[in-house]
């Protein structure tokens, strides 16, 4: 009997496919998410939009809050640690978090090293903007990749950019000959073995989800059609004026992501979405996707 193997870690990601993972800040929101059909919740003290507004250093959530959320729902509970902060990750593992998100939404703890995720029995999800970044995280042991997008903006443009970039780079890689892969590996800054695997199979070796800016059922559909296998929705739900309805609509939108008539039905009368922020209104230094490498 073997626990914590890579197969077991990616196994949970396989089970989360075709679903919606929702950010929640208390037990009450977690229950709303579960009742709406979420496949998992992300336990946070503040959703990304509020982290953005609040400023200062954003850290791992209070274990008390995480436990309350764990006790309130039966679906998997995820939580975020800071990039490179392996002590926070150890604490989250001791709380038996189902997936740890080593997240750019929190303030990075290490500007050089990400966590060596193979050391842990619980699986990790990490964000990426491009294929090289995705493969470096997988090399460190991430069992699930998501686009970074730009969290807390309600603006899908960065998630689209990141998903398209990853997909284009995978396509390019699969056209290269074996004699070109070492050079590709150097260019991508990613481990050769993983580069080779992607070139041979034409896909990432772990599931690939979307995150960062999804606010409507149509946003979720867009990301799924671009190749995402599930969607993380952060501020989009609990910053809208009818979270329960919007949550359910996004769940149905992910199931029926390629059926416009169904999407029209679920998008009807949802009330105001979160207001959203234009990328040009966010100074470079405040862009969360730039954190990590």
């Amino acid at each position: 009997m073997e626990k914590g193997s890579f197969e077991v870690k990616t196994g949970l990601a396989e089970m989360l496919k075709g679903g919606v993972i929702m950010d929640v800040t208390n037990a009450e929101q977690a229950i709303i998410a579960e009742n709406a059909g979420a496949v998992a919740v992300m336990a946070l003290e503040r959703i990304p939009a509020d982290i953005r507004e609040h400023g200062g250093i954003a850290r791992m959530s209070d274990p008390k809050l995480i436990k309350e959320i764990q006790a309130s729902v039966s679906i998997p509970v995820m939580a975020k640690c800071r990039i490179g902060h392996f002590a926070e990750a150890q604490i989250l593992e001791s709380l038996e978090i189902d997936y740890i998100d080593e997240s750019e939404v929190l303030t990075p703890a290490d500007e050089v090293n990400h966590i060596y995720k193979h050391d842990f029995k619980v699986p990790f999800v990490c964000g990426c903007r491009n294929l090289g970044e995705a493969l470096r995280r997988i090399g460190e042991g991430a069992a699930l990749i998501r686009t970074k997008g730009e969290a807390g903006t309600g603006n899908i443009v960065e998630a689209v950019r990141h998903m398209r970039t990853v997909q284009n780079e995978i396509k390019r890689l699969s056209t290269l000959g074996d004699d070109q892969l070492m050079s590709a590996s150097k260019e991508l800054g990613a481990p050769y073995s993983v580069v080779k695997e992607v070139a041979d199979t034409g896909k990432l070796p772990v599931p690939n989800f979307a995150a960062g800016g999804i606010a409507t059922p149509a946003d979720a559909s867009l990301m799924m059609q671009l190749g995402a296998e599930s969607c993380f929705v952060g501020s989009g739900i609990f910053k809208s004026n009818d979270p329960a309805r919007r949550a359910e609509a996004i769940v149905l939108a992910v199931t029926h992501y390629d059926e416009p008539e169904e999407l029209a039905k679920v998008s009807e009368g949802l009330g105001e979405a979160m207001v959203g922020i234009n990328m040009s209104d966010i100074p470079e230094a405040e862009r969360l996707a730039e954190r990590g490498w």
Binding site: M1, E2, K3, G4, S5, E7, V8, G11, L12, E14, M15, L16, K17, G18, G19, E34, N35, A36, G37, A38, V39, A40, S74, I75, P76, E93, E96, I97, D98, Y99, K121, V122, P123, E248, V251, L252, V254, T255, H256, E259
Partner: protein
């Protein structure tokens, strides 16, 4: 023969891939009327609460339960929970197809998920197959009509009642395709011939 895979949420593509390996035609099922076009149905792993919720809000719980009563069905993990007649959680609505009681996430959270060999007796020969258990349920009680085809640590993990098969593990996540082959050859094809 076409086998449907319920595609509301979960590892439905993985099941589709195994069926394709076995040379079986497949159809992803996202609407009740599609059930008319398939001879059997696989209910994949995923979150049973999500599947219950979507079936209820789109109002096809009754249709799919009726289908499952009359056709070969195979449920893995969340799918096995849905096929049971009793679950320890009010959040999931069981379809009452297999006379068994199921406890959700009964081994614990993800940190307790594991890979192990299961003693299996599908084709009557006995042997071991590798099995991945992800936040797996436990079958805590089975009725007289239920045949136990696989055990882990003495406990039932693969069971059959009539044309319904249920696994608490994920045969779609390993390269071992014996359980799917059993479903197709021993259940679906025989049901079709009958």
């Amino acid at each position: 023969m076409t086998v449907g895979v319920l595609a509301i949420q979960g590892a439905y593509h993985k099941h589709q891939q195994v069926l394709t390996k076995l040379g079986v035609d497949t159809l992803l099922i996202k609407h009740p009327e599609q059930l008319k076009s398939v001879d059997a149905l696989i209910i994949p792993g995923g979150e049973s609460t999500t599947m219950t919720k979507v079936l209820q809000s789109e109002k096809w719980s009754d249709t799919i339960e009726m289908y499952a009563r009359e056709h070969p069905v195979f449920g893995t993990c969340a799918g096995a929970i849905l096929l049971s007649n009793k679950v320890d959680s009010a959040k999931v609505h069981p379809w009452n197809i297999i006379d068994m009681t199921v406890s959700r996430n009964a081994f614990g959270r993800q940190i307790e998920s594991f890979l192990a060999d299961v003693d299996w007796n599908g084709f009557g020969e006995g042997g071991k197959i590798p099995a991945v258990f992800i936040r797996a349920p436990r079958i805590t009680d089975v009725g007289d009509q239920v045949e136990i085809l696989g055990r882990y640590d003495g406990e039932p993990v693969l069971v059959r009642q009539g044309n319904a098969l249920a696994a608490t593990f994920h045969p779609e996540l390993t390269d071992e395709i014996a359980v799917h082959r059993y479903f197709i050859d021993e259940i679906c094809r025989k049901a079709q011939a009958a």
